[in-house]
């Protein structure tokens, strides 16, 4: 039975009786009208049970030992306590550490990969005349995530995609986007020239723009021997003071187109040979004139087919490589081999670590808050039920 919890003014008569009780217990005299109450109070106090000497000694000893187990039971106590406390503490710490690692991996892994490296290849169908934009045949492209700014050393490890070329005529091309500090634009451009020259390539077109400010731009249209394309991409991806933003490798199978051009050339040559024989046996002026006109057309066709074949051979033998360099405000890493680590990189890494740590804390809070709320609710319900059962036990006694 739980009575009123709020404090209310007590009845004066009750207060007087309570004062009389307290006065009696303190040994002070009370008014005669409270004599009965005082007598009962004294008699009740006299009924106070006394502690037995054996129990007094026993509990004194327990308290003196600070409730430690008796010496005879010492070997059992600590072991059970270890299992019940340290074991669960260690298990909890291990689970927390695993959760932390998983959270870090999830956060660190999820925050990368804005720019991409992509590769695309297309095969021209038979008879496709144009060597420019691929048409008709199936085209596939794929992309995979790559870090936002790939350090030069790291990027050079990425192999250049090489389509199978066994007996096939394949035209390859590639595009590389780099980022460099504005002040290093010249250095990077010169390195591009050096790489292409060393590999026997050709700089077909180049533009290097420097403003003296934070802006800057360079563009190169290059042609390199196809056999050296992989090496060229590898070296260009590893230029000092430059970082790879994205790279694209493309390939186009022109075997059918090449074969058609070869057949057309052979047909034209055979036609010219036949016409030349007919010309040798021609009698009339009209016949000679007609044959000479046909021979002229056949030779024009031969020249055209030969040019087509030459162009296709050049496309197969030399790959087109487009390099674009854009200035970026953040300084690029230092020269290769120096470790690439400076104050700026350290600050960047520190910021990243702090971001990840904040993310982990946020996720932990998101997970733990509902659990803590449930635990608090369970604790409150449990304590309320326990208190109510205790009161019921008192009423039922």
């Amino acid at each position: 039975m739980r009575l009123l919890d709020y404090d209310e003014p007590i009845d004066p008569e009750i207060a007087a009786v309570l004062d009389a009780i307290d006065a009696t217990l303190s040994g002070e005299p009370v008014d005669a009208q409270y004599a009965d109450t005082a007598e009962i109070a004294l008699l009740l106090s006299a009924e106070r049970p006394a502690v037995g000497p054996e129990f007094a000694q026993s509990i004194d000893e327990r308290v003196a030992r600070r409730f430690a187990p008796a010496p005879a039971s010492v070997p059992v106590g600590p072991r059970r306590r270890w299992w019940s406390s340290q074991f669960w503490e260690a298990t909890g710490a291990l689970a927390a550490a695993i959760g932390l690692i998983v959270a870090i991996v999830v956060i660190a892994g999820g925050g990368q990969g804005s720019p991409s490296m992509s590769s695309a290849s297309s095969a021209a169908g038979s008879g496709a005349g144009s060597s420019g934009a691929p048409s008709g045949p199936p085209t596939r492209s794929s992309s995979k995530a790559q870090p936002a700014l790939v350090p030069p050393n790291g990027s050079s490890a990425t192999p250049t995609l090489q389509p199978p070329t066994t007996g096939r005529k394949v035209v390859q091309s590639a595009q590389l986007d780099l980022a460099a500090a504005p002040s290093r634009m010249d250095d990077v451009a010169q390195q591009v020239y050096n790489v292409i020259g060393a590999l026997g390539g050709i700089v077909e077109n180049s533009t290097v723009t420097q403003t003296g400010g934070p802006a800057g731009y360079a563009d190169f249209q290059l042609s390199v021997p196809s056999a050296s394309l992989g090496q060229a991409m590898s070296r260009l991806s590893s230029l000092n003071y430059a970082q790879v933003v994205s790279r694209t490798d493309s390939s186009q199978d022109i075997t059918d187109q090449y074969g058609a051009a070869q057949r057309s050339l052979a047909d034209a040559r055979a036609l010219r040979t036949s016409l030349l024989k007919q010309l040798a046996s021609a009698i009339t002026t009209e016949q000679v004139a007609s044959l000479q006109a046909q021979i002229h057309d056949a030779e024009a066709s031969i020249s055209s087919d030969q040019a087509t074949l030459n162009r296709l051979n050049h496309q197969v033998g030399f790959s087109q490589l487009s390099v674009e360099i854009n200035a970026r405000s953040a300084p690029a890493p230092a020269v290769h081999g120096s470790g690439g680590f400076g104050i700026g990189q350290a600050a960047h890494d520190a910021g990243r670590v702090l971001t990840v740590a904040a993310g982990v804390v946020l996720i932990a809070l998101a997970v733990l808050s509902p659990l803590a709320l449930l635990a608090a609710l369970a604790w409150w319900v449990g304590s309320t039920v326990r208190r109510r059962r205790r009161e019921q036990a008192l009423d039922a006694a």
Partner: protein, 192 residues
């Protein structure tokens, strides 16, 4: 009323053995609390449970729990004695619950019967009759009211401490005590 001086004076002096360096303050406070309250806690438990063995168990359990939780005591919420008797009360009520689960105790020791033997030897006349009447009336009280008597007259709690242990306001505790005393007074007068 200074309970520390009036009550529980027979606690063994072996407790003055020096505690370890760590937790000296909390241990000293607990030791002082134990010294001042051991007999009071026992008296309360015995009056409520009417069983010496159970009262001893509850007393020991209450002090062990208080020792384990001594760092959780918050002086802003009341005196240490009130906190200790709250623990003792929970232990005693748990004991009552355990009794309910097991079985109703048969042949509980009757304080009135025990006392009557002593009265016959030590006291005489009117006083002995009045004492017997009070014992009988106390034995007839329900557990809840017997608990109030135990806390007030056997454990020596003030009305404020009584209120904190029972979880009611001080005026409510005073009213409960008044009603219990009135019931005892009427029972004693009826017996006389």
């Amino acid at each position: 009323m200074d309970h520390a001086l009036v009550r529980s004076e027979g606690v063994s002096e072996t407790l003055t053995a020096s505690p370890s360096a760590s937790g000296t303050t909390s241990w000293a406070r607990f030791e002082a609390l134990y010294r001042s309250s051991r007999d009071d806690v026992y008296a309360y438990a015995f009056t409520l449970l009417r069983d010496a063995a159970a009262a001893e168990d509850v007393t020991a359990l209450a002090f062990e729990r208080a020792y384990r939780r001594r760092r959780t005591f918050d002086s802003r919420r009341g005196e240490e004695r009130g906190w200790l008797f709250g623990i003792a009360r929970n232990a005693a009520l748990d004991e009552l619950r355990r009794r309910r689960r097991v079985a109703a105790l048969a042949g509980e020791p009757s304080r009135a019967a025990d006392a009557s033997e002593a009265v016959s030897e030590d006291d005489e006349g009117e006083v002995a009759l009045r004492r017997t009447a009070v014992q009988t009336a106390l034995a007839m009280l329900p557990a809840r009211e017997r608990e109030i008597v135990a806390l007030k007259f056997h454990a020596g709690l003030s009305n404020a401490e009584l209120a904190r242990v029972l979880g009611v306001s001080e005026s409510n505790a005073g009213t409960l005590l008044y009603r219990t005393m009135e019931k005892l007074r009427k029972a004693c007068n009826a017996t006389a």
